[in-house]
């Protein structure tokens, strides 16, 4: 290998480390399409095809269930990422938004017969209000205090739900949780016999949130958030309203998280305050984000793809011998990743991907020259 060859990829990767979805870097050839763009279009189409075709091949409901949970967690983590990743703070109470979404839609459908789809939006708006309410006083705090405040808020809400049978006219049913009787199947009732419809709903939700994240990361808001997260004083000196940017991010994040809460309620048909507004769930979201890569678009998806199967399979195979195995594995992976790849597993993968693309475009160029 000559010196020239070793230098070339280094040179390129420094210009194109903005994530696998970015279309920068590699030399743009005047004649024809940018090979990077071409490859990305093809691989994205292939990925979508695989994702949408998966239930046709994967007939086992158990595996489909696992994949649905992967998407569910990837969705939650992507929503979390808008605050925890881009805004550079550490919210550890996101389960409260899941709880608000789940309880709102469930109560509306159980007590008033309103379709969960409408309840989903109502829950989202309600949750957005709560998110802004938490964000207003807490965003002024430093990292550790912000983390503690979000934990305290979520735990306080859990204690309240567990202690209340009725909140005004709404039946919360206290610590026993709410059960949704599987009676009226159909799209309007957000209730299906098979798992496939749930699969497509959460897949579309996930694609939506990923696209939204992508748009944000390239928008003014994204730059504001990034600047505020890295150097708040410098950003403010430049006239960036950091607090406002963070509040917008929090509002979006809490709205989107609540939607997932409704999905979860309709998918499992049972909500239980101890498991849905739990600290463990909030932590798991943060774990997935940090292991995958905080503040990147692909990070939450990669983290969920890596961690969810670990969790599910260790529960299936070692559940009775070693019930907490998946949490030990989570902890060990987290510590190792944080020591050796502080930016998460997306970073080495992005680097490898860029190198691959560079080689591809070089081959293409060689072909064109010949």
């Amino acid at each position: 290998m000559t010196g020239n060859e070793t230098l070339a990829p280094l040179d390129n990767s420094s210009g194109s480390n903005a994530g696998p979805l970015s279309v920068s870097g590699s030399k743009v050839t005047d004649q024809g399409v940018n090979p990077r763009k071409k490859f990305e279009t093809i691989s994205l189409a292939a990925l979508l095809l695989i994702a949408f075709g998966l239930p046709l091949v994967m007939r086992s409901p158990t595996y489909l269930h696992i994949v649905i949970l992967i998407y569910f967690y990837a969705y939650l983590t992507s929503s979390w990422n808008m605050v925890g990743g881009f805004a550079g703070v550490l919210p550890l109470g996101h389960s409260v938004f899941i709880g608000v979404g789940a309880y709102t839609s469930t109560i509306l459908s159980l007590q008033y017969g309103i379709s969960p789809w409408i309840g989903m939006l109502v829950g989202g708006v309600l949750s957005m209000g709560i998110g802004v309410l938490i964000g207003l006083p807490t965003f002024k705090m430093r990292g550790a205090y912000f983390a503690l405040a979000t934990i305290a808020f979520a735990e306080g809400m859990r204690v309240m739900v567990e202690n209340l049978d009725f909140l005004g006219p709404f039946n919360l049913n206290g610590p026993r949780g709410l059960q949704i009787p599987p009676l009226n199947f159909g799209f309007l009732n957000f209730m299906f016999k098979g798992k496939e419809p749930y699969y497509y709903i959460i897949l579309i939700m996930l694609i939506g949130v990923l696209v939204l994240t992508w748009i944000i990361s390239r928008s003014k808001l994204g730059y504001y958030l990034n600047a505020g997260g890295e150097e708040p004083e410098a950003a403010m000196a430049l006239g960036v309203n950091v607090a406002r940017a963070k509040l917008i991010a929090m509002a979006m994040s809490s709205f989107l998280t609540a939607l997932a809460g409704t999905f979860y309620a309709q998918f499992s048909l049972f909500i239980h305050p101890k498991s849905i507004i739990s600290l463990d769930l909030s932590f798991e979201i943060a774990f997935i984000a940090l292991i995958g890569g905080r503040g990147s678009i692909a990070g939450p998806l990669l983290g969920a793809l890596l961690l969810r199967p670990v969790s599910d399979f260790s529960r299936i195979y070692f559940g009775d011998v070693f019930p907490g195995l998946h949490l030990v594995i989570f902890g060990v992976i987290l510590i190792l990743v944080m020591i050796y790849q502080p930016r998460g597993i997306q970073e080495p993968l992005t680097r490898a991907y860029n190198r691959f693309i560079d080689r591809l475009s070089k081959e293409e160029q060689a072909k064109e020259v010949s």
Binding site: M141, L279, P323, G324, F330, P342
Partner: protein
């Protein structure tokens, strides 16, 4: 009225034990500026060490301090040196190391679940210890003897730690690092060694807290979780980094928990504690005795 006084006294006693469990947390925060989420798990480890030391040797629980303090100091020292230091070094330019916070959560999960694997989910308590279930009569009121021992231990420990930080050479070096780690490094203080020692001290204090708990409290793998959350609340109430604040914060929480049930359902006291915590966070984040610039 008598019940009220009795509850108040027992609340103060239990509260100062809460304060002792939070003391290590506040010291680690004061020096490293890191909220140690694994703190409850360290307490759990301390309780298992204490439990086995007492159960195997059959001595008075407080004699086990001789074993528990050095073992826990070493445990904390090595934990910081091996697991947390590398992450610290990776983000050393950041004043508020957020990644470290989440890594301590990883440590929490690992420790709790490993102890579930090794010791099983059963509750363990030392049946035949001289303090168990002892009550002491004050007029017509009943005061728990093991909690009284715990309260005295908490006060002695807090005083000892205060003396150590104010008047010893190492204590002053630790305080210097906590004030300005770069300036301390320039003065020839090895900041990472100081971090290790501070973490060791914090963990050793958890060991002392564990000793005060085992005469009347069960030992089980998730025993730390409730003390963990309570610990955060206590240190924020008292002011993060303040030694006296930890004890006072602990007593406030202890009082709410023990006097509160006179006026409401017992489970609601937990919500009151969270509410008070949020109120302090929003109104006066530096807590009752905290340094203003620390938050």
């Amino acid at each position: 009225m008598l019940y009220f006084i009795e509850d108040t006294i027992n609340g103060i006693l239990m509260g100062s034990i809460y304060g002792l469990t939070a003391l290590g947390l506040t010291i680690i925060f004061g020096v490293l500026k890191v909220i140690n989420f694994a703190h409850g798990s360290l307490l759990m480890v301390g309780m298992y060490v204490a439990y086995w030391a007492v159960a195997l040797s059959g001595v008075h629980p407080y004699l086990a301090l001789v074993v528990v303090i050095p073992v826990m100091f070493l445990f904390g020292y090595l934990l910081q040196d091996i697991v947390i230091k590398p992450i610290f070094k990776a983000e050393k330019d950041v004043r508020e190391p957020v990644t470290v916070i989440i890594v301590t959560t990883g440590v929490w999960y690992i420790l709790d679940n490993l102890s579930l694997l090794f010791f099983g989910p059963q509750y363990r308590s030392i049946q035949d210890n001289p303090l168990r279930g002892k009550m002491f009569e004050l007029g017509e009121m009943l005061i728990s003897v093991p909690k009284l021992w715990g309260c005295v231990t908490a006060l002695i420990t807090a005083a000892g730690v205060y003396y150590f930080f104010q008047y010893t050479r190492l204590g002053r070096a630790i305080r210097a690092t906590s004030l300005d780690r770069d300036a301390a490094s320039l003065a020839g203080i090895n900041q990472y060694k100081i971090y290790n020692i501070a973490f060791g001290i914090g963990t050793a204090i958890s060991g002392i807290a564990a000793i005060t708990l085992i005469p009347f409290y069960n030992t089980f793998p998730t025993v730390g979780v409730s003390f963990d959350i309570k610990g955060f609340i206590i240190v924020v109430l008292g002011g993060l980094g303040s030694i006296g604040g930890a004890i006072v914060g602990g007593i406030i929480v202890g009082l709410i928990e023990s006097v509160g049930p006179q006026f409401m359902t017992a489970t609601w006291t937990e919500a009151i504690v969270y509410g008070l915590f949020l109120l302090v966070l929003f109104v006066k984040p530096s807590g009752l005795f905290g340094e203003k610039n620390d938050w």
